[in-house]
Amino acid sequence: MIEVEHLTKRFGATVAVDDLSFSVSPGNVTGFLGPNGAGKSTTLRALLGLVVPDTGSTRVLGRSYVELVRPLERVGAILETAEAHPGRSGRNHLRVLAVGAGIPHTRVDEVLELVDLRDVSRRRVKTYSLGMRQRLALAAALLGDPEVLVLDEPANGLDPQGIRWLRDFLRKLAADGRTVLVSSHVLAEVAQTVDHVVIIHKGRLVRQATMAEVQAMAAGSTVARSPQAGRLGELLEAAGIAVRSMGDGALSIGAPTARVGEIAAANGVVLHELTTPRATLEEVFLELTGGEEP
């Protein structure tokens, strides 16, 4: 269980996170989305005790991270790929963490096997590719077999096979009853992995919803093109339906195609196009965050 309550964090005059509240429940993979600079990393770092909030609080498993006993066995995290000393081997990087956390050395071999790094584990980290470093970071996160995983861009640098493996792996972890929070800018990847999303923008919560709800939001929209776009817009608004002009006789309409078609037919309005845009999380995201790419 992850809880963020009224979290606010400023860096000088910049408000990175502004009264943000949300929670993440066990047994799910939750996507944490927002445009660049939305405050995702600051929030995750506050959650892990690395950034001190100005106001508000964060809790993992009912406590602040700083209060956790043997934290690596409760929470696993990936925050950045440059987390290992470049002159140390991957195996020794994990050995240092295992020794510091009181985790048996045998677990180091297990996680190296799990992320498919065993063959290169004695090479120094500076010789690793970005994908290998990311898998090493994942190995470090999994070292303590934690109940909660907080992963910032975990698919970064992974090849398609690795991304697919990660997706399946995260789903399996969630199915085991663990709490998984994943931030990502690869929306298509998140859409295939997560059960819930938390969307933030300019440090504030925009939406917390299930994926099914988000996809329903996208599915509810229609694009109509008509030589009588103005007339059609008036009729739809009179019916209490939200309408936005897209120019060139096109309208974005907040109602299913069947309803729009019925209103047009009943009023003799000619339609040149009546379509449902492909329902994607990305479209909803752009709508919610004012069109900024994550």
Binding site: R45, L48, E80, E83, R95, V99
Partner: protein, 246 residues
Amino acid sequence: MRALLHAEVLKLRTTRGPYVYLFLLVALSALLAAANATAAHLLDLADPAFQRDLVSDSVAAPLIALVLGIVSVTAEWRHGTITRTLLLSPRRWRVLAAKEINAFALGVFLALVGLAVAIAVAAPILSRDGTPLQVDGPFAVRMLEIVLASALWGALGAGLGALVQHQAGALVGAILWILLVESLLAALFDALHVDRIDDFLPRHAFNALAGHQAGLSPGASGAVAAGYVAFFAAIAFLRIRRQDIT
């Protein structure tokens, strides 16, 4: 805390940097011992006090302990590993304490290696000249003082590293202080006819403890040096206690 200390030792053992410094220590200590023993006047060599100076002046451990103390901490910020270190141990005072203890122990180890090398090089030269090295009570005390000085230099380096965090900045700052700033301050105090204040400056106190220069008594200089270690550790803790690791 024991697990954290083991992790700190393993960090040092699993990168090449500390081995380079160890090689430098051995090479410098051997070179200094050989040069000091062969350049000395034969009459001086027979003097036990001169022999103690010869050995202790040949041990390059204090400077290397300071540098390694700084590097062992600033490397965490330089390579971004501080994030993983604080995830492992979110109570920051424990991380700082482990690093201080580790740097102190490293200083002890470096001094013992330096002493072993200096004695191994100087003793045969002294014996050849018919003035064998006299290992007695005062000799042992002097060697203990240099071990303590080296350990405190290491711990001072760790505190300074945690305070400054920028590796090059901390190293350049420490070396400039030792080579330039403190000498300028001492000259200023002299010009102002303020006596004995310079004995309380860091380099003077540490050197007096190691017997490298006159000044405070070993006990007083040890207390002043320990005070500097505690001061830097305290202000480093105040800095990192609520520092945002971004």
